[in-house]
């Protein structure tokens, strides 16, 4: 008993009790019989050692979640992290979608896949609070002349992307221009300004593929009266309108069903800050196969209530059909690009279309047709301008002033940095500046553009392959993150043109680097 007392005094009460219990436990496999106190002492020591061992192991095990949770806390809150994702496109992994727009893996010296259609998507997992994302692409520049390669990062829940140029050979010589950050001064008669101040420069032409805020003008000649465009237009169009309070839009569309698939026309109205103010859809005519039979005309009227006075963008999505009629309850509606389609090729009677055009500086009007039916003479201020070539644009150099353009046979695309209208009264200047997309023609941009806004980097060449790099700033570019992923899209515009369908783009790999800044 003296030994037990001594052990109790040492604080080994628990161990002594467990030994006692072990000795008297009726459930024990074998009852232990101790012949001497030494034997009991040995047993107690052995048990204590075991207990200690288990305690140590338990502490080690508890350290696992503590370390894991500490690591996650540290990584999320404090650490700077660079994440790298390498997508080997030539392998069997399916990084790109939809599969119908890419080829099977091609194994040559380098394994790759071809992009065979214009919009090919992929997504990237990103950590919370990630700051910037750099996308490198290794590809072969199998582009027709004047075409570019663009990468978009989704910046809205609906189909909207922030575009960066991946490949644009005309931008390879940008180093000859003065620049501040991503702003290049193209018109040397002006002065260079930083990006934040550029939007305050008046009457300048800015070329950019990035989101760029234009300051709207206040139009004093605006009145609320109905304006109708009773001419056929082919596919998607963008109009700028000036309105207030309730905007009423009536659209008539007619599918031409030249290509298989549904032809849904989506109509979106944006304010000057690119916020959607309303949208509606005119569904397919029910003919999803190729058909030469004239389809029925579908009509829809939509009202957007309580709009503030200002400039709005009316966007009609691209579809395989004609916009037969547009009516808006404002006297101001203009566009920079019109595809006139009053031509028998679209099963529509020919009719003269009169357009109005105004410019305060020399610019040029591009006229292009894809069909023999579109070869014609266009009248510009009573001067006859012949359209003699298919596909390649014919240019008319306009000096400052107002122009009246008459197209007699149509099936022609008219495009300019300035605005066209269907009535003289409709013509207006929506913004203090003109914004155009970057073209693969530096010579043209040098004579038509004042400032160029781009973060384009010249691709590096390696044995016929190019490695291009482009960056997105997740916060500044308002990149849309869903399920912890950013959605990207490669836009290869020439692949949406059936004529250039053979110009597929081989892609070897995509290397994505995500940078996350910590608090420390």
């Amino acid at each position: 008993m003296g030994w037990y007392t001594e052990q109790y005094k040492k604080g080994h009460k628990k161990e002594i009790n467990s030994i006692k219990e072990a000795v008297s436990n009726p459930f024990a496999e074998q009852k232990k019989v101790f012949e001497s106190p030494d034997q009991i002492f040995k047993e107690v020591r052995l048990h204590m050692r075991n207990e200690r061992k288990i305690k140590i192991f338990k502490i080690i095990i508890i350290l696992i979640p503590i370390i894991l949770i500490s690591f996650i806390l540290y990584s999320n809150l404090f650490a700077n992290h660079i994440f790298n994702y390498f997508y080997d496109i030539g392998e069997n992994e399916k990084y790109l979608s939809p599969e119908s727009r890419i080829s099977s893996p091609i194994q040559e010296e380098i394994g790759y896949r071809n992009l065979t259609a214009s919009l090919v998507y992929f997504s990237v997992l990103i950590p919370r609070n990630a700051e910037t994302i750099t996308v490198q692409t290794k590809f072969k520049p199998n582009f027709p002349e004047d075409y570019v390669f663009i990468l978009g990062a989704k910046d809205r829940e609906d189909w909207h992307y922030k575009w960066n140029q991946v490949y644009n050979p005309s931008l390879n010589n940008l180093s000859q221009f003065e620049r501040i950050d991503k702003v290049y001064l193209i018109n040397k008669n002006l002065y260079l300004v930083p990006y934040d101040e550029l939007k305050y420069e008046r009457n300048v032409i800015v070329a950019s593929d990035n989101y760029y805020t234009l300051l709207p003008n206040i139009i004093t000649e605006y009145t609320k009266k109905n304006t109708s465009i009773n001419h056929s237009l082919r596919g998607g169009h963008i109009f700028y309108i000036y309105t207030e309070e309730d905007l009423e839009i009536t659209i008539k569309k007619q599918d031409i069903n030249w290509y298989p698939g549904e032809d849904v026309l989506e109509i979106l109205v944006y304010d000057a800050n690119e916020n959607i103010k309303g949208n509606f859809t005119i569904e397919d005519d029910g003919i999803s196969e190729v058909s030469k039979i004239p389809a029925p005309i579908q009509e829809k009227t939509y009202t957007i209530k309580n709009l503030e006075k200002g400039v709005y963008k009316l966007q009609l999505s691209n579809f395989d059909g004609l916009i037969r009629y547009i009516e808006v309850n404002t006297n101001k509606i203009v566009s920079t690009k019109l595809f006139l389609a009053d031509n028998p090729i679209y099963s529509v009677n020919e009719s003269n279309v009169t357009l109005f055009f105004d410019t305060q500086r020399p610019t040029r009007i591009s006229m292009r047709t894809w069909h023999y039916q579109g070869l014609q003479n266009i009248s510009i201020n009573n001067q006859s301008v012949p359209i003699k070539h298919l596909v390649n644009a014919t240019y008319y150099n306009a000096t400052s002033g107002r122009y009246v353009i008459i197209s007699y046979e149509n099936d022609i695309i008219l495009e300019s940095t300035r605005y066209f209208s269907f009535t003289e009264e409709s013509l207006f200047e929506p913004f203090k500046q003109t914004l155009i997309s970057i073209k693969n023609d530096l010579e043209w941009m040098t004579s038509n553009v004042d400032y160029l806004v781009t973060n384009y980097k010249r691709p590096k060449e390696d044995n016929g392959w190019l490695t291009a790099e482009t960056n997105f700033n997740i916060k500044e570019d308002n990149i849309f993150i869903k399920d912890n992923k950013i959605n990207f899209v490669y836009n290869v515009p020439h692949l949406s043109n059936p004529e250039y369908a053979n110009y597929s783009i081989p892609v070897d790999w995509i290397n994505i680097t995500v940078y996350k800044k910590g608090l420390l």
Partner: protein, 120 residues
């Protein structure tokens, strides 16, 4: 068959890893990307499954069941409320249906836990 100290350690390891895995999954569900970007939870899940299988086949000391106390019932009730809150948070887009789903789930958690507690 694993016996003695090893069985105790395996059992402890399994319980700790399971609790850690569930906690991390919960965190990932609430703040997406906070965990999955740094740790692949699938690997952790594989380890949990392996330790779980070993634990099932190991011989553990016989534990005598204690009668549930008020504390246990309070704990079960708290778990039910937490479960309700998590499910409501994850299904809030469903509108009124979200309330029904989370309420049923919360009640189920409480009732099943009480059943387990009182299991003889």
């Amino acid at each position: 068959m694993i016996k003695g100290n090893s069985a105790i350690i395996i059992n402890h390891l399994f319980q700790t890893l399971l609790a850690t895995c569930l906690l991390l999954l919960l965190v990932e569900q609430i703040w997406q990307g906070t965990v999955s970007v740094y740790i692949n939870l699938n690997y952790l899940l594989v380890i949990v499954v392996i330790t779980g299988i070993i634990d099932v086949f190991s011989e553990k000391p016989v534990l005598f069941k204690e009668k549930p106390t008020t504390k246990d019932y309070l704990f079960v009730f708290a778990l039910g409320i937490i479960g309700f809150a998590i499910i409501k948070y994850k299904t809030h887009q469903l509108g009124n249906l979200s309330w029904i789903i989370s309420l049923v789930a919360g009640i189920l958690i409480i009732l099943l836990s009480i059943m387990v507690l009182n299991d003889e």
